[in-house]
């Protein structure tokens, strides 16, 4: 390991080199964190507008409605509604979750947890962030074009996304933004993969890596392989829209020979299904570590968890067809995809059982990172189980494109990842900024968020099962849907409560930065490498490259006689 020696560079001195165009992985991580939190707010407000429209059709959106939609007296117009659900999905997935879970935690944790001084390619790392900024400018710029932003859904299926369905520039800018972001994420992935392979501290085998690093590594591998697939799809979409090619046009729209709109769905989901795991693997990794740290026990079956995550990553590449059961796919294919999808349950069950095994009879410390981690265990369990109904052809045919799907993927991709992200922020805040966040406020934040998100996403599954389709501006013009108005109102109030709870986090975060309690070197009493150095981590990370002598979860060892219940990875394993 440690293929070569990383030198300690001089600390940057100017404002620009220190905070804006920094090569330091920790600064880039913080840049991604701010970027992600900003877009979490933007996407969150869009979600509230969507929910408001569904609960109170025809009523002006409070506070900012009249400013944003003066022509309708503050009511969200139908075409804007389509833009809102398109941008909400796009922003939350690509501009909020991806930068926080992968950009921030990937950049911050990988070098610190493997004992490196920085990423292997610091300049590519910086470029990756600024390309993400360029992508965000393209996407947000689309809001100010004559026909507005993209409105074809976050999946942007043709023909909704071709010039026929979306004649404005907004959809083209959407495709360009996604392409640029793909380049940015691929650059990050190349950096992560190479860094983990070549810069692990001496003595650190792959199974000595914390599971957080495992999750980020697998995510990077999936990103490097599958983002270019989406890149190719969006490139062809851009060609269709800008140069008049006909890759995704069929029938009367194509003059000679024929394109294929369904092809985009194939390409999108070849990327899109691994994307689910791209987003959730870092959260799984973080939670797998935190459960062990706060249960004061070694991670139960840590190797099996790592291998289960690897198996899921591999299987995730073979199941994309379950998103397309209703596209007149051959029954032989649907059954194959269904069977492959069901096999994912096996490794999922293994690591889920390992999570339970980790906390079983542990001396659990219910600090905020642990609460959020336990929240992930709960919501991911629900999200995973409801996925079975959508992976099965017979039930999916009924549930396809309903709010059941929306509820399911929000449980897995939004709730799990969001809670995992919060767990990570509360946990690494001391090492990132050198301060502790207020535990009391963090716990209030957790409980209100938990109540709110379950009200929203479980409610969505109920109305979906009742037959409510997604993406409808006003479903209640259908008589049979009118009985679902009360529960939709309940969902919206839950969403408002969940949204308001995030102000507690923002206050706590900013207040801690300004006047937070100074953090000690190792406030959580765990043994991974980042906790062997001062808080916040110095710019060179490690004065001496550490030598790893034991695993990352050496907690609660009864042979320890040093007065602590954990060992650092740099210490020899204490045996009887």
């Amino acid at each position: 390991m440690a293929f070569y020696k990383q030198h300690m560079h001089e600390a940057p001195k100017t404002f620009l080199s220190k905070y804006i165009f920094s090569f330091d992985h920790k600064v880039i991580a913080k840049q991604f964190l701010w970027y992600g939190i900003f877009f979490l707010g933007v996407g969150g407000i869009m979600a509230l507008m969507i929910r408001w429209t569904l609960a109170f059709p025809g009523v002006a959106f409070p506070l900012i409605g009249k400013f944003l939609f003066p022509e309708t007296g503050g009511v969200v117009p139908p075409d804007t509604y389509a833009m809102l659900f398109t941008l909400h999905g796009t922003i939350m997935i690509f501009y909020a979750i991806t930068p926080i879970l992968i950009g921030c935690f990937g950049n911050f944790c990988i070098p610190l947890m493997i004992g490196a001084r920085d990423m292997v390619f610091p300049s590519a790392n910086m470029l990756s962030f600024w390309l993400a900024v360029l992508s965000a400018v393209l996407l947000m710029g689309s809001l100010f074009t004559p026909l507005g932003a993209a409105a074809g859904g976050w999946t942007s299926y043709p023909t909704l996304s071709t010039l026929i369905g979306s004649p404005g520039v907004g959809q083209t800018l959407w495709a360009m933004a996604i392409f640029v972001l793909g380049v940015s994420s691929t650059m990050g992935a190349i950096n992560y993969i190479t860094t983990i392979i070549t810069l692990r501290a001496p003595g650190m085998g792959y199974f000595d890596m914390p599971l957080t690093v495992w999750g980020l590594w697998l995510t990077a591998i999936l990103n490097a392989i599958f983002l270019p697939v989406l890149g190719a799809g969006t490139l062809l979409l851009i060609f269709d829209r800008v140069f008049g090619t006909q890759f995704f046009l069929a029938g009367a729209a194509a003059t000679s020979g024929t394109g294929d709109p369904i092809l985009f769905q194939h390409v999108f989901w070849i990327f899109g299904h691994p994307e689910v795991y791209i987003l959730i693997l870092p959260a799984w990794g973080v939670v797998s570590d935190l459960l062990s740290f706060f249960a004061r026990k070694p991670a139960f079956g840590a190797k099996a968890t790592a291998l289960a995550m690897t198996s899921i990553s591999i299987l995730s590449t073979l199941v994309y067809g379950h998103h397309m059961f209703t596209t007149q796919m051959s029954p032989l294919l649907t059954q194959t995809f269904m069977t492959m999808t069901m096999t994912i349950s096996i490794p999922s069950a293994i690591f889920f059982a390992n999570w339970l095994g980790t906390i079983w009879r542990g001396s659990i410390r219910f600090h905020s990172p642990m609460l959020f981690s336990l929240g992930v265990v709960f919501v991911f369990g629900l999200g995973g189980l409801t996925g079975l109904y959508l992976g099965t052809v017979t039930t999916d045919l009924y549930l396809h494109d309903t709010y059941f799907v929306v509820g399911h993927f929000h449980y897995t991709m939004a709730a799990s990842v969001l809670l995992g992200g919060f767990a990570g922020v509360y946990f690494w805040m001391p090492k990132m900024f050198g301060v502790m966040m207020d535990e009391f406020l963090a716990k209030i934040h957790f409980w209100i968020t938990m109540l709110g998100l379950n009200g929203v996403f479980f409610g969505m599954m109920i109305v979906g099962y009742g037959g409510m389709h997604r993406r409808l501006y006003n479903p209640f013009i259908y008589e049979f849907m009118q009985k679902l108005i009360p529960i939709n109102t309940f969902i919206t109030w839950s969403a408002i409560i969940m949204g308001l709870a995030q102000f507690i986090f923002v206050y706590n975060f900013i207040n801690s930065l300004i006047r937070g309690e100074k953090a000690s070197e190792n406030p959580w009493e765990v043994g991974t490498l980042e906790w062997t150095i001062p808080s916040p981590a110095p710019h060179y990370n490690f004065k001496e490259i550490p030598v790893v002598k034991c695993g990352p979860h050496e907690l609660g060892n009864p042979n320890l006689k040093s007065g602590r219940d954990f060992q650092y990875q740099t210490e020899d394993l204490v045996q009887a």
Partner: protein, 217 residues
């Protein structure tokens, strides 16, 4: 009681290796690993395009579609010859650079730039020729494939060409350092050249596949 880690001897070995530090072999391995990942990513992009091609081709009752003519092979064959020659030239450049034959390597590098520019000029001719046949990007899926795929490939050639020109511009300064016995500069130049060379070879392979499926079959 503290006992030795089961991998203690391995640990010691790695500590020693880490102390040895900056060996060229290790840096070359790091560079190769990252370049493999880069090329896997690019391969997936082109593999997706070829998947699309296969679907269009298998769905079409006749190929080329009604009203379209096959493209004369002269220009695509010329592109193929230039692409293969460019790859060979880059190989010779890398070989001579590794042997320390700076002047000869410099000549080969000039030829690499010429090959890249030549390929792009021939592609321009191909697009003009397609238009003269009445095949435009908007002429159904046949035109879309011919233009779309060659555009994407040419865009990658432009990137490779820029990289080669950058290599050319820095080559003089770096080769002077090499002549003064600066091993670090030498290693940096070799790694840079190897990676750009791999990208050229990759694009040659992609072109061969485009030539086979789009023009020959």
């Amino acid at each position: 009681m503290e006992t030795a880690h089961p991998n203690q001897s391995v640990t010691d070995r790695f500590v020693n290796e880490a102390q040895v530090g900056d060996s060229f072999v290790n840096r070359e391995a790091t560079s190769s690993i990252s370049m493999v990942v880069v090329l896997v990513s690019f391969s997936m992009l082109f593999a997706t395009l070829f998947l699309a091609y296969a679907i269009y081709r298998f769905q079409a009752p006749v190929w080329p579609p009604m009203g379209m003519n096959r493209v004369n092979l002269f220009i695509p064959t010329l592109s193929t010859i230039i692409a293969i020659s460019g790859s060979l030239v880059f190989y010779f450049f890398n070989r001579d650079l590794r042997r320390g034959l700076i002047n000869s390597a410099s000549d080969w590098l000039n030829l690499c730039v010429v090959a890249g520019l030549g390929f792009l000029m021939v592609q321009w001719q191909l697009w003009s020729y397609l238009k003269s046949l009445g095949i435009f990007a908007s002429s159904g899926i046949f035109g879309s494939l011919n233009f779309g795929f060659t555009w994407i490939h040419a865009a990658h050639i432009v990137i490779a060409l820029f990289l080669t020109i950058w290599l050319r511009l820095t080559f003089k300064r770096q080769s002077q350092c090499i002549e003064n016995g600066n091993d670090g500069e030498m290693h940096g130049l070799i790694l840079k050249s190897q990676n750009i060379g791999k990208f050229w070879h990759f694009l040659t392979i992609v072109w061969l596949i485009i030539f086979l499926f789009l023009f020959l079959l």
